[in-house]
Symmetry: C2
Subunit: 333 residues, 2 copies
């Protein structure tokens, strides 16, 4: 693997040899899991072959219905993801899952247990599951997730599910990649107000109240209805009021209702031109993120880390304000 | 107020008239709350006077000990903040609080109740409390919070406490502004693993287990100790092992221990050169964020929104990959 990566690195720089990224994409389109995994690794690691990979993927993208699934810890996101995989597989769909984890090396080991529920599907050749973690790089996920999405899309997935613990702005950014965003809540997980704090309510196209057999489910549904009726809905377009679906993911109860809601939302997206709007919006955000990352790299190369460090020391000492320092830093671009 | 802002806007452009930002800074340094509030508003709203404000503040910054306080919803962050204010006031310190809320307009109203616990201090002229919200601007907080911090610092606060619900990357970024970061947990708030998911454990300089009179406090302390002994500590420097302090913020129990831990950490920061290192790091991040924001603005002005929209449509249609689009977008910089 190390050697193969090295070869790719050379190719990324030389740009004129036979194109393993194109070969990998072709094998991924045949559904070969190793090719899919390899491509995701290439985009995650910001391999020098990244641009070639991106170019090879582009013509095959746009076919997948992208679902975002988020909610506070403990509401049953992994279990619902597993239930959704089962439901889509019953329809004969190829499905990709990006389990995005905003945690860090410190806690990395502890999280594997969480993924056990998805193990039922790991031997199914039509199911691709990939866990992604920030690995301590700030903004790393926001940057790598859309590229991993493109890999799964080009690999012929009909449905791609991005699952993340939905409690911060980065997670909101990630789920906002989706065509359809599901926000998962559960009874007694702190009241609706605590969920609202996380800023995830207004990104929901569909609310799912999971563990609906637990006490307090009626109350949670009631509180949500109330908040929806009060709230402004600036993100979701006109004529869509997010439904509230009750599920018990462990038994599969409510899954039919949820699948119907997903179909209805997809139809709405297409018929209102919203699908195109959202995807253009997603692409614009992606272009801007890549452009700014390119500029950041260019700045660092132009000036070296010392220049920034010198300016930072002056700012820390109160000799310079950060705006003047930023101007000085970008002056030679 | 509207007229005053207009005058500032003119000054920001002309740069040669008498300087209300400097006057405001001078009044803020005398401890006038209205001047402090006005300056924070100027930086929050990205007023055209922002650069002037930043320049006027710079010489007076660097004096405050900056504390970050974060933790999952419901652990008692506001109550502990209030208890810390009381403890620092007993030492005669001037204290600033930035209560950072990563929530959105949708939920804005619901959050005020949370701040009621701090109302005890709102009439104390040596306590400045400011709530900050994203108002739907992605990345808005990461950008405005350091500037608000500078205002409170220049206003002569001995201690500045940044409090945020700590559950996502943006919140980690915000608390990483601090010299000393407190991570607050409580018994039975989901086990330690759930807290670890949020990626906040490794930023802790001090752990606080609040509600230590509740069942399960021993267990939470034990789990934390175990995780600390297992975990890599890449962020905190050498020779510092984060202590675990038990508190009951509602009664003030454990506050003395916490104050001692804060003093000990501050001494460690100074004696190991870590204070300087952290502040230089903070300043570098701030400079880079401002530089990239400037470049983003410049790109948008150079090309107009249409250029990005056109590229985004091509990417969404699979005609172009996002890297090629980003190259095209920044080509004329």
């Amino acid at each position: 693997m190390g050697k193969q990566r090295h070869v790719h690195a050379l190719e990324g720089k030389q740009r004129h040899v036979a194109s393993p990224p194109a070969e990998l994409v072709s094998r991924a389109r045949e559904g070969q899991p190793l090719a899919v995994a390899r491509l995701i690794s290439l985009v995650e690691d910001a391999s020098p072959a990244l641009r070639e990979v991106a170019a090879a993927l582009a013509p095959y993208t746009g076919g997948a219905h992208v679902l975002g699934l988020t909610g506070p810890p403990g509401v049953g996101k992994s279990t619902l993801t597993s239930a959704l995989i089962t439901a889509f597989r019953a329809r004969g769909k190829r499905i990709g899952v990006l389990a995005v984890d905003p945690s860090s090396p410190f806690s990395g080991g502890a999280l594997l247990g969480d993924r056990i529920r998805m193990h039922d599907h790991t031997t199914d050749p039509e199911v691709f599951i990939r866990s992604m973690a920030t690995r301590g790089h700030l903004g790393g996920l926001a940057w790598a997730t859309p590229q991993a999405l493109r890999v799964l899309d080009a690999a012929g997935c009909d449905v791609i599910l991005i699952e993340t613990v939905g409690v911060g702005q980065s997670e909101v950014d990630i789920v906002s990649l989706a065509d359809t965003t599901l926000v998962l809540l559960a009874p007694g997980m702190g009241d609706g107000i605590q969920a609202a704090k996380a800023g995830i309510l207004e990104v929901a196209d569909i609310f799912v109240v999971n563990k609906s057999d637990h006490d307090g489910a009626d109350r949670t549904v009631h509180d949500l209805s109330h908040m929806i009726s009060l709230g402004r809905r600036e993100i979701t377009g006109p004529n869509w009021r997010p439904p509230i679906i009750r599920t018990t993911a462990t038994t599969g109860s409510g899954l039919d209702d949820l699948m119907t809601a997903l179909d209805t939302h997809h139809t709405w997206l297409v018929s209102h031109g919203e699908l195109q709007t959202r995807r253009t919006h997603r692409a614009a955000a992606e272009i801007e993120a890549i452009a700014l990352d390119t500029l950041r790299t260019r700045l660092r190369h132009l000036h070296g880390a010392e220049a920034l460090d010198t300016l930072a020391k002056q700012v820390a000492a109160g000799e310079l304000d950060p705006y003047a320092a930023a101007e000085a830093w970008i002056a030679s671009l």
